[in-house]
């Protein structure tokens, strides 16, 4: 755990408590069965807004707290532990884009609402199934045209932060915007969003696009950290109570060493994730490297832990009744979101000149 200030400690504990009391994995299962059109529970989102979490990276003058990305990551990590569903990550990072490049009018129009959890925002960046491909969406006369694939929280977004070939744009839902939901293995909101001459305000050039994608990536690794830590601890608890050959499984050295190995990787993952969030808050010039390090390590570690969770639970790990499969499925989606491990390893090396 990074060195936290008093607000951060409070924030983390509050988020952990809320996730445990109000949003355990049973809440995710209920939502999965109810399948609301927007992809999230409106009541829970309102509560998140009231608790101020959606305003953590929004300045105080617009109703936020400006605590920063490490703080946002702490909250997202706690929610990730229980697979809590909300448009918090996408809204917060999209709000950052408005803070960094929006006109006064857009800031007035959107930031207070986003900080209060009264509106949902999201990023629309990728145009194919793999992050890092060409961006061809284009803008002419203030109108944006192009199709974005697998937009997280696309079903419920009130406003989109959209990457075009020449930079980043703000596009409200409505005129010229059509949303086609995609049913994915993690049962979260993902949608293909088609923009046809949609009114767009320019937020910045491709540098801003990259800065915002890096922020989204870092926040995603925080969710992955919460998931990995929780999946690991659930597996550990299971090994301590499941009896075979007259012994609890946790007494078998082969399993002890697999758990020790995972614990070791988890320590490295936490350092890399917190390092990326701290780099953003500190405005460091090597945020790109820190983020690629975090995502590559997070991908490898969460993949290891989520796959081992199924294996070590054994047969019941294959059943829908147990949670192992839920972690496995969300993990696979997040491994792809904002770049695979190999994408980030290649980027890290290029940034380092080899």
């Amino acid at each position: 755990m990074a060195l936290l200030n008093d607000e951060q400690v409070m924030l983390r504990d509050m988020a952990r408590e809320w996730a445990n009391n109000e949003s355990p994995t049973t809440a995710f299962r209920k939502l999965r069965d109810a399948a609301p059109a927007k992809g999230f529970d409106a009541e829970a989102w309102t509560t998140i807004g009231q608790m101020g979490w959606s305003g953590i990276v929004i300045p105080e003058e617009f109703g936020g707290t400006a605590f920063g990305y490490l703080s946002l990551g702490l909250v997202v990590e706690q929610l990730g532990r229980n697979l809590a569903v909300s448009p918090l990550s996408s809204t917060a990072v999209a709000a950052s884009a408005i803070v960094m490049g929006g006109s006064d009018k857009s800031k007035q129009e959107w930031l207070s609402k986003l900080a209060a959890g009264e509106a949902v925002a999201t990023l629309a960046i990728d145009e194919g199934p793999v992050h890092g491909g060409a961006i061809t969406a284009s803008v002419s006369g203030g109108k944006l045209t192009g199709t974005k694939k697998f937009v997280a929280e696309g079903d419920g977004a009130d406003v989109f932060v959209v990457a075009a070939a020449d930079g980043l744009y703000l596009v409200p839902a409505g005129e010229g915007v059509s949303v086609a939901s995609r049913k994915m293995v993690d049962n979260r909101s993902h949608a293909d969003v088609t923009f046809t001459n949609a009114p767009a305000e320019k937020l910045g050039g491709t540098d801003l696009t990259q800065a915002i994608v890096d922020r989204a990536t870092a926040v995603t690794t925080a969710e992955m950290l919460g998931m990995a830590d929780s999946a690991f601890n659930q597996t550990l608890d299971y090994l301590k109570q499941r009896v075979q050959f007259g012994q609890v499984l946790s007494t078998f050295q082969a399993l002890q060493h697999r758990m020790a190995k995972m614990k070791t990787e988890l320590e490295l993952m936490r350092s890399a994730v917190e390092g990326a969030l701290e780099a953003i808050d500190a405005g460091r010039s090597d945020v790109d490297q820190a983020v690629s390090l975090a995502k590559a390590v997070a991908n490898d570690t969460l993949r290891l832990v989520s796959r081992e969770m199924v294996q070590l639970y054994g047969g019941v790990g294959m059943t829908d009744e147990y949670d192992a499969g839920l972690y496995l499925k969300r993990s696979a989606v997040l491994e792809n979101m904002w770049g695979t491990a190999s994408y980030h390893r290649d980027r890290f090396a290029r940034l380092n000149g080899y």
Binding site: M1, A2, L3, L4, N5, D6, V9, L236, L239, K240, Q247, V248, S250, T251, Q253, L255, Q256, H257, M259, A260, K261, K263, T264, E267, L268, M269, R270, S271, A272, E274, G275, L293, A296, V297, S342, R345, D346, F348, A349, R350, N352, G353, Y354
Partner: protein, 406 residues
């Protein structure tokens, strides 16, 4: 966990200490020694000190800053962890290095400060602080490696002294050491509870050392034989039978220093960075990437591993503020540190091909020979100080609470 508010309060005094440290270092560190750390003498054996080296060791010894956080009453620096960190930064800034080292500093000193009586601390700590007395470790035996508690070296009670008989092995620097801290058996009827922690003079009659030649060509370890060695009772640390507890605590200090928690991080990994070696020995494609894409991927994984480890050491240091000494988490660090050291060495020689496998003579640069030797020596790091398998046992049992067979 320290809060930011607590740190703010200490910021003013920290600034003052930084100035003090900077002034003292500038007055005392001989610039001729800049960057010429002789810390590897633990492996290569002691070399004759130059006048500047001697002066620097004596200055740091008198100031106590070679062991900055040890108590002043025994000659230590008496600094807080934060001040010690600032001192380290100031030393790095001017290329100064710590001339006070070895097992006395890394392992025995911290343990004696915890478990020794007043007379023992007064007698032994100042010699370590000044870098005048070399200590070696008498733990492993031919039949007691990972299963250390099965050790057989016996100290027979003769009233006011013990008579010690037995054989130790893997005694690092035994041939150059003045004194040995040893685990010996004082009771043959109990396994762990029959072990005691005893201090033995290496020049006492009946002590013999034989260097062991390693695959790297160096001989940093000895076999040590004790034949009817007389050891006064005042050299017993703690109680009879408390040796296992004390010895285990000492191993935590050892892991802490081996993993880099003690500030020695990177010593094994010093030198040219792997990507830079690769660019020198291997082809690049037209976009400037290493042409061997499989090798490139493995280099990146290693570099990321190393970066994440450095962040973890930093995080552990921040979290350790106010905590008492190293914990079982040092086992996590030791295993990652060993993995990174060995991966680095394997990558270095793989990149260089046959040129990375030279033993000596014409046709190989000094750096190339050093890479070969470092690679071979590096195989020890996942074995000594408790093998990686033993560390995994520690992680599973002490951190994760996974129990033994009942």
């Amino acid at each position: 966990m320290a809060t930011a508010a607590e740190l703010d309060r200490s910021a003013d005094s920290a600034d003052g200490f930084r100035q003090e440290a900077r002034a003292w270092l500038e007055a005392n560190f001989p610039l001729s020694l800049r960057g010429k750390d002789n810390a590897m003498s633990a492996v290569d054996g002691p070399t004759d000190e130059t006048p500047d080296q001697k002066a620097w060791r004596e200055a740091m010894g008198a100031k106590g800053w070679g062991v900055p956080t040890w108590p002043k009453e025994y000659g230590g620096g008496g600094l807080t962890r934060e001040q010690a960190r600032l001192l380290g930064e100031e030393m790095m800034r001017i290329g100064a290095w710590n001339p006070i080292g070895g097992m006395g500093v890394m392992m025995f000193g911290p343990t004696l400060l915890e478990y020794g009586n007043e007379q023992q601390k007064q007698q032994h700590i100042p010699g370590i602080v000044k870098g005048e007395v070399r200590w070696c470790q008498g733990y492993s035996e031919p039949g007691a490696g990972s299963d250390l508690a099965s050790l057989q070296t016996f100290a027979e009670d003769k009233g006011d002294h013990y008579i010690v008989n037995g054989q130790k092995t893997w005694t690092s620097g035994g041939q150059w050491a003045d004194k040995c801290f040893a685990l010996v058996r004082t009771d043959k009827t109990q396994k762990h509870a029959g072990i005691s922690f005893l201090l033995i003079d290496m020049d006492a009659e009946g002590v013999e050392t034989r260097p062991i030649k390693l695959i790297s060509g160096a001989s940093p370890f000895c076999e040590t034989f004790f034949s009817n060695v007389k050891v006064p009772k005042e050299n017993l640390v703690g109680r009879e039978g408390q040796g296992w507890e004390i010895g285990t605590r000492l191993l935590q200090h050892e892991r802490n220093s081996l993993s880099g928690g003690g500030g020695s991080q990177g010593r094994m990994n010093q030198g040219e960075q792997i990507p830079s070696i690769a660019k020198k020995y291997r082809e690049l494609d037209e976009s400037g990437k290493l042409a061997d894409s499989d090798l490139r991927t493995r280099i990146i994984k290693h570099e990321m591993d190393q970066r994440a480890f450095a962040l973890t050491l930093r995080r552990a240091a921040l979290e350790a503020k106010g905590n008492a000494g190293p914990s079982a988490a040092t086992s996590v660090m030791k295993n990652v540190g060993a993995r990174i050291t060995q991966d680095r060495a394997e990558l270095a020689i793989e990149i260089m091909g046959m040129q990375g496998l030279g033993w000596e003579g014409e046709g190989f640069s000094q750096e190339e020979i050093a890479q070969t030797r470092t690679w071979l020596w590096g195989k020890a790091v996942s074995i000594y100080g408790g093998s990686s398998e033993i560390q995994n046992n520690v992680i599973a049992k002490r951190i994760l609470g996974m129990l033994d067979h009942q």
